[in-house]
C-alpha cells in the first residue's frame, strides 16, 4: 500500500486536500491493524459469498433430474403449455447467467426457494429449526468448555501423571467414537433401561411450546415464567447435549493441553514463578491467556458447526433441528432445501470465522500488529 518513490501526492491526486486525506487514510490504514483486518476479511467474505452462491446455484439448477417434473408431477410436466408457463414463472427458459442473476437476487431477498418435503418456503423451515439447534448447541458447548478447559490445563500441568494419561484416554475415546452410536447406546441405557430422560423431540407429547420470542424453548419459557415447560425442554435437551459434548470435550481437552504445553516452559512463566506469584494466578493470567488463541479458533469452528446443527445426534434423538432437516431433505433429494441449508451453514461459518479473527486481534497484539 506504500507510495512508490518519486511520485508525490500532488502528481498523483492533483489536489492538495485529497493528498492530505489520502495520506491520512494511508496512515490510518497502516496504524490500525484491526481496521485493516476487518476490511481484508470483509473482502474475502464477499468472494466467499460469491463462491457459495455459485455452488448452490449449480446444485439447484444443474443437478440431473427434471425440476419441472419433480415439482408438478409427470402428467402435468408433459403438457407443453403447463411446462412453458412453469419455466417462464421461474425463469428456467432464460440463459444460465440470467438464471443465476435471478437466483442471487432472490437469495438476497431472503428467498431460499420452496422445500418439496415440507411444502413450505425453506426460509420458514430454517426459522423453525435453527433456534432448536442453537439451543442444543449452546448447551453442548457449555458442557464441553466447562469441563475441557480446566481438565486440559490440569493435564498439561500434571503432564505424565496417571491423571493426564486417564484424561488422554477419555479424550481419545471422545474423538474416536461415532456420536450416533453413543447416542443410541445412551438412549438405550438412560432412556429405555432407567427411564431417566425422555427419548426424543423437544417437549413431551401434548405439551404446548412457549410463546415464540427467540424460538428457543428454554429461554422463551423462562421469559414468561413457565418453569414447568422450561424443565420439560431442558429434560429433553440434556441427553443429546451430553452426547454432543463428549466429542467436543475430546477435541477441546487435547487442544487445551497441547496449547498450554507450548507456552508453559516459556521464560516469562518461569519469571512469574520466580517472582513468587501464586500458582493459580500464573496458570490463569499467564499460561491460559497465551494458550487462548488456538483454543478460541477451535471453539469458534466447533461453535459454527453446532449452530448449523449436528446431523447425526439430531437424527438419533429425532430432535427437530437444522441437522435433522439437512439429512431428511438430502435423503429425499429435496434440492432447494439442501441448497438452503448449505447457504445458511456457510454463512454461519463465515460469520463465526470473521468474529473469531476479530477476537484474535483483540486478544493477541501480535496478530493485530503483525
Amino acid at each position: 500500500m506504500s507510495d512508490a518513490p518519486g511520485i508525490t501526492g500532488r502528481q498523483r491526486y492533483g489536489r492538495v486536500e485529497r493528498v492530505w486525506l489520502g495520506s491520512k487514510l494511508l496512515a490510518f490504514w497502516q496504524h490500525h491493524g484491526l481496521v485493516r483486518m476487518v476490511v481484508q476479511r470483509t473482502f474475502a467474505l464477499v468472494i466467499l459469498g460469491f463462491g457459495i452462491s455459485v455452488v448452490a446455484f449449480v446444485l439447484t439448477h444443474l443437478v440431473p433430474g427434471d425440476p419441472v417434473a419433480a415439482e408438478l408431477g409427470q402428467r402435468a410436466a408433459h403438457i407443453p403449455a403447463v411446462r412453458k408457463a412453469y419455466e417462464a414463472r421461474y425463469g428456467l427458459d432464460k440463459p444460465l447467467p440470467v438464471q443465476y442473476e435471478i437466483y442471487v437476487s432472490s437469495l438476497l431477498h431472503g428467498d431460499l426457494g420452496q422445500s418439496q418435503l415440507t411444502r413450505r418456503p425453506v426460509a420458514t423451515d430454517l426459522e423453525q429449526f435453527v433456534p432448536a439447534s442453537i439451543e442444543l448447541g449452546l448447551l453442548a458447548m457449555g458442557i464441553a468448555v466447562a469441563t475441557a478447559l480446566p481438565l486440559g490445563l490440569i493435564a498439561a500441568v500434571r503432564r505424565g501423571s496417571a491423571l493426564d494419561s486417564a484424561l488422554n484416554v477419555v479424550s481419545l475415546f471422545g474423538i474416536s467414537t461415532p456420536s450416533f452410536w453413543v447416542g443410541l447406546i445412551g438412549l438405550f441405557l438412560v432412556s429405555f433401561e432407567f427411564g431417566l430422560v425422555p427419548g426424543s423431540g423437544r417437549l413431551s407429547p401434548g405439551a404446548l411450546p412457549p410463546p415464540h420470542v427467540t424460538g428457543m424453548y428454554t429461554i422463551d419459557s423462562l421469559l414468561v415464567g413457565d418453569f414447568a415447560t422450561f424443565g420439560d425442554a431442558l429434560h429433553h435437551l440434556i441427553l443429546p447435549a451430553v452426547v454432543l459434548a463428549i466429542g467436543l470435550f475430546g477435541m477441546l481437552q487435547r487442544f487445551t493441553r497441547s496449547a498450554v504445553l507450548e507456552v508453559i516452559h516459556n521464560d516469562y512463566i518461569t519469571a512469574a514463578r520466580a517472582k513468587g506469584l501464586p500458582a493459580p494466578r500464573i496458570l490463569v493470567r499467564y499460561t491460559l491467556r497465551a494458550a487462548w488463541t488456538p483454543i478460541l479458533t477451535l471453539s469458534g469452528l466447533e461453535f459454527a458447526s453446532l449452530m448449523s446443527g449436528s446431523v447425526l445426534v439430531e437424527t438419533v434423538f429425532a430432535y427437530p433441528g437444522v441437522g435433522r432437516y439437512a439429512s431428511q431433505t438430502a435423503l429425499n433429494l429435496d434440492i432447494a432445501a439442501i441448497a438452503g441449508v448449505s447457504i445458511f451453514v456457510a454463512v454461519v461459518y463465515v460469520v463465526t470465522n470473521f468474529v473469531v479473527d476479530i477476537l484474535y486481534a483483540v486478544i493477541d497484539p501480535r496478530v493485530r500488529l503483525g
Binding site: V169, S176, L298
Partner: protein, 309 residues
C-alpha cells in the same frame, strides 16, 4: 485453524520421556510416589503397542474374512433377534443373520474404502499443496482460497449434500469424503513444502538448476512424506467415522451389504436389542481409537518441535 483438522492436534502419550536418552527430571519425584502397577504400565510401550496389535488384527480380518466369519453375512434364518450366545457370538438380527459374521464382513467394506479415501485425498492434497507451496504467488492464492472455500462448510453437511446430489451409494460416499478431506492434506502439504523450501540444502540443490519437477521430487517430497504419514493415519480414523456416518444416514453403503454404520442404522428400530448396535459400534471405536493412538505416537516420534518443549 493453524493446519490440519482438530483431531490432528494432540499432546503426548504416557510413557514418553521428555527427551530421548535423558532421564526425565521433571517427573521423577511424582513417579516415585505413583503406584507400582502404574509404573509397570508406564515402562512398557503399552498403549501404542496394543493399538498396533488392534490395527494388525483388523488387517488380518480384512484379508481372511471368509475364514473367520462362521456364517454367511447375508444368510437369513428363522432364528431372529437372538441374544449373544454360543452359536451366535454377537446374536442375530431381525432377519436372523449372524451379527458376528456381519461385523467381520463389515471390516471388508469400511476399512478398504476408508484407506481408498485417504490415499486419494492425500494424493490430491500433495499435488495441490505442493504446487501452491512451491510456486507461491497467485497460484498459491487461488489454490488456498479454494481450500478455504471447502473449509467453510462442516464436512458432514458438505458430504451429505454431495452424496445426496450424486445419489446414495458407497462409491458416491467415498467421492464425497474425498471432496471434503483433501483440503486438510493440501494445507499440511503446503506448509511442509514451504518449510522444506526454506531449508539450506534445498536452496543449495536448486542452485544446481534442476527442473521444478525434479527439485520437487528429489529434494522436497521426501521431507514432506514422513509427516504426511502421520496426518494420513489420523485422517484414516476420521474417514472411517465419516463413512460410517454417511452409511448410518442411508447415504453410503446400501442394505443388505454388511457395513458397520448401516448396521447401527438398522438397529435403531430395535434399540432394546442392544447387541445389534453395540458390536458394530465397538468395531468402529476399536479401529479408530487404535489409529488415533498410533497417529499420536508417530507424531511424537516424528515431530521434533514437541520434544523441545
Amino acid at each position: 485453524m493453524p493446519d490440519g483438522s482438530a483431531s490432528n492436534v494432540s499432546g503426548t502419550l504416557p510413557g514418553r520421556p521428555g527427551f530421548p536418552g535423558q532421564p526425565d527430571h521433571h517427573h521423577r519425584g511424582r513417579r516415585a510416589r505413583s503406584p507400582r502397577w502404574w509404573r509397570t504400565l508406564k515402562s512398557t510401550p503399552g498403549m501404542a503397542l496394543i493399538a498396533l496389535g488392534i490395527v494388525v488384527a483388523w488387517a488380518v480380518v480384512v484379508f481372511l474374512t471368509p475364514l473367520i466369519a462362521p456364517y454367511d453375512p447375508l444368510g437369513q434364518s428363522s432364528a431372529t433377534l437372538i441374544g449373544p450366545g454360543l452359536h451366535h457370538l454377537f446374536g442375530t438380527d431381525e432377519l436372523g443373520r449372524d451379527v458376528f459374521s456381519r461385523v467381520i464382513w463389515g471390516a471388508r467394506v469400511t476399512i478398504p474404502y476408508s484407506v481408498l479415501v485417504v490415499v486419494i485425498s492425500v494424493a490430491i492434497g500433495l499435488v495441490f499443496g505442493g504446487v501452491a507451496g512451491y510456486f507461491g504467488g497467485w497460484v498459491d492464492g487461488v489454490l488456498m482460497r479454494l481450500v478455504d472455500f471447502v473449509f467453510s462448510f462442516p464436512s458432514i453437511i458438505l458430504a451429505l449434500v454431495i452424496a445426496a446430489a450424486l445419489g446414495p451409494s458407497l462409491r458416491n460416499a467415498v467421492l464425497a469424503i474425498v471432496v471434503v478431506s483433501w483440503p486438510t492434506y493440501a494445507r499440511v502439504a503446503r506448509s511442509l513444502v514451504l518449510s522444506a523450501m526454506h531449508s539450506d540444502f534445498v536452496t543449495a540443490a536448486r542452485l544446481l538448476g534442476p527442473s521444478s519437477i525434479r527439485a520437487m521430487a528429489v529434494d522436497v517430497l521426501p521431507n514432506v512424506l514422513g509427516p504426511m504419514v502421520v496426518y494420513a493415519t489420523l485422517g484414516l480414523g476420521d474417514a472411517m467415522l465419516t463413512l460410517a456416518s454417511l452409511s448410518f444416514l442411508g447415504l453410503g453403503s446400501q442394505p443388505p451389504t454388511a457395513e458397520w454404520g448401516s448396521m447401527i442404522s438398522g438397529a435403531e428400530q430395535y434399540f432394546d436389542k442392544w447387541w445389534l448396535a453395540l458390536f458394530p459400534g465397538l468395531a468402529i471405536v476399536s479401529v479408530v481409537f487404535a489409529l488415533n493412538i498410533l497417529g499420536d505416537r508417530l507424531r511424537d516420534v516424528l515431530d521434533p518441535r514437541l520434544l523441545t518443549s
